[in-house]
């Protein structure tokens, strides 16, 4: 599903629109810092606009394009630690530790 027309500038990053945490986390681990930085820079600028757009609708009945936008912004949250803090995809000092999501609310 495409992004809302007002968010055409984020189309190059549309493949970050991932519905679940395991998908978003796997994408983060598989991405370079350059890719995450580019996505972060573009999406962070539009975060407030995205919230304003989605908040025109009830959260439990978002139109499809708003769902896509929400999934994109959830990925922005996912890459925020690597970009703002870690400067790497993995959590430092986390070695082989893992923590799987076994239940989560999914938007859409």
């Amino acid at each position: 599903m495409p992004l809302p027309a007002d968010f055409a500038d984020l189309e190059p990053y549309a493949d970050w629109a991932l519905a679940t945490e395991p998908e978003r986390y796997a994408r983060r681990l598989a991405s370079s810092m350059a890719d995450m930085q580019a996505f972060y820079d573009a999406a962070f600028l539009r975060l407030e606009d995205a919230i304003a757009y989605c908040d025109k609708f009830p959260l439990d009945s978002l139109p499809d394009d708003a769902v896509t936008l929400m999934h994109l912004m959830q990925s922005l949250v996912m890459v925020s630690f690597p970009v703002e803090v870690w400067k790497q995809a993995r959590v430092p000092d986390s070695g082989a530790a893992y923590l799987d999501v076994i239940a989560e609310p999914v938007v859409g």
């Binding site: 975060l47 995205a50 989605c54 959830q74 959590v91 430092p92 530790a97 923590l99 076994i102 609310p105």
Partner: protein, 421 residues
Amino acid sequence: MPHFAKPAEGSWTAHYPALGTAPIDYNDSIDPAYYEKERVAVFRRSWLNVGRTERIPRTGNYFTKELVFAGTSVVVVRGPDAKVRAFYNICRHRGNKLVWNDFPNEETSGTCRQFTCKYHAWRYDLTGKLTFVQQEGEFFDLDKADYGLKEVACEVWEGFIFINLDPQQTLEEYLGPMVRGIAGYPFHEMTEVYSYRAEIGSNWKLFIDAFAEFYHAPVLHQKQAVKEEADKLIGFGFEALHYELDGPHSMVSSWGGMAPPKDINMVKPIERVLRSGLFGPWDPPDIEGLDALPPSVNPAQSRSWGIDSFVIYPNFMLLVWAPGWYLTYHYWPTAVNKHVFEASLYFVPPRNARERLAQELAAVTFKEYALQDGNTLEATQTMIASRAVTEFPLCDQEILLRHLHKVTHDRVKEYENAAAR
């Protein structure tokens, strides 16, 4: 010079003199023989939380729980009378595991009108009664009333479901006044759940140790704050507002100035926009019950209160956060040096995208921290097991650890003494 007042005895630890102040012997976390005793003396006889009633809101909703420490499995189900019951997950005919999907050792959940064994189709209703036997006439003097599912003690407190394989007292008695003093907190409003699971290569007590003290926080997690803030936190160290022990249970109450922060520049850019972070969304949800808190929450009645962390013995932790959400941890031992760790974050359901993303950031941040915490444990386990060093000094801010190991030691000792008689 302490930043927060301590008890008249001079320290929290001295306030509970039975604890002593000597270094702690961590043989209890590496000795396989000790673990064997712990499985019976602690885990079979304690009330164990297996989740929330919201997970099985309607008649026929059920979930299974693998209890590796007891080599068994239970099924927890909501009956037609709305009562929550627990049964050993075993068919009375020839012992097949009753409820499972594809892999018998994996937990499952769902909804059903009755339980039907996959093997010979014996059927049980939701209260455990045997209702159907395939080719019943082939059996000899079989009275179905004698072959209901074997029930496990199961009680509910404030929406938390507890089971006990060998109860020594009622759940209310077991929980005691301190834990019961949390009653009334609006847990039932917080139904937006994020759950996590990991297998951890350490004794179950070592992970409780890690989460029952905040002394490590400014050090292990220093990279998570912006640099100036991290330097300030490490210089300040950690002191709790209050500690309390009650029977086998304990709690630490801590300040928390990050929700919202005093200075917006202390936090990362995305936290500034989403108004959320490790301490949860900064703006409290619009529900009843957060203004006047129950007596056991924020017991010091401090204005800088941020979080209360309860250890509900043996393996359940409940964390109540000032901005109005809560977190649970469970540690399920699977061997002396292994356990399954579960964590769940509970929020009031978000009303809009802004609240939803604030919760998303809190959940993502939780995982970043927990991965650091989890990873130190396997290394700790390995080194303790080397027996190069066997005794470890615990400071006053680690009183809950001292208590956890002492309570466990006392229960194992009592079990040994009873066995010797």
